[in-house]
């Protein structure tokens, strides 16, 4: 079985990124675009 890592530990490790607010906003909005794009593609296939 794969070793499990606690999400709190991951949270600690990404603290520096947590402070990069503008970068987080860019990544977040890009991911939303990718989700929207996927939704559109799935809608078109139906």
């Amino acid at each position: 079985m794969d070793e499990i890592i606690d999400v709190q530990e991951l949270g600690k490790q990404t603290l520096p990124e947590q402070n990069k607010v503008s970068q987080k906003q860019i990544v977040e909005s890009t991911m939303k675009q990718h989700i929207a794009q996927l939704n559109l593609e799935q809608e078109a296939q139906r």
């Binding site: 794969d2 070793e3 499990i4 890592i5 999400v7 709190q8 991951l10 949270g11 490790q13 990404t14 603290l15 520096p16 990124e17 947590q18 402070n19 990069k20 607010v21 503008s22 970068q23 987080k24 990544v27 977040e28 890009t30 991911m31 990718h34 989700i35 996927l38 939704n39």
Partner: protein, 148 residues
């Protein structure tokens, strides 16, 4: 097709999520997981080692940012989330202040203030004018009654 940077990041995040408890993974919306699975780079070979930190394993910055977003939105306690959001608000405020300084809108506000003062003065003047008409009307009525 997503940019290569994101394809790599999605692959890394999914590999990391293999080492996160099912309970915590289930907190992430399905459409987000599905999107990452579909867009993850197949050319990237990455195996996550739980004994090393993300930085030690050269996990891409975009993947680390995604993990930080997942932590904020789905794994943090309400107290932790509140702190993170407050920090974000402060950072946004600092950014706004910097932009404000750059474009120096104080001058614009000064102009707006003087314009609004002008508007206020105009309003006051109109009110005074109306009052004087009323006063004149009352005075005229009084004169009529006094004569009778």
């Amino acid at each position: 097709m997503v940019p290569k940077e994101y394809g790599i990041a999605y692959k890394e995040v999914l590999e990391i999520l293999k080492h996160v408890s099912k309970e915590d993974v289930s907190k992430i919306p399905n459409n987000m997981l599905e999107m990452m699975k579909i867009n993850a780079s197949e050319e990237t070979n990455f195996s996550y080692d739980v004994t090393k930190t993300l930085t030690e394993q050269n996990v891409s910055e975009t993947a680390r940012v995604i993990i930080s977003i997942l932590f904020r939105d789905y794994w943090a306690t309400s107290e932790q989330r509140e702190k993170i959001i407050n920090k974000e608000k402060c950072a946004a405020q600092v950014q706004n202040d910097a932009s404000r300084e750059q474009y120096n809108p104080d001058n614009i506000f000064e102009k707006q203030d003087s314009q609004s003062n002008d508007c206020t003065q105009q309003t006051v003047a109109m009110v005074e004018y109306k009052e004087s008409i009323i006063k004149r009307f009352i005075a005229a009525l009084r004169r009529l009654f006094v004569k009778k």
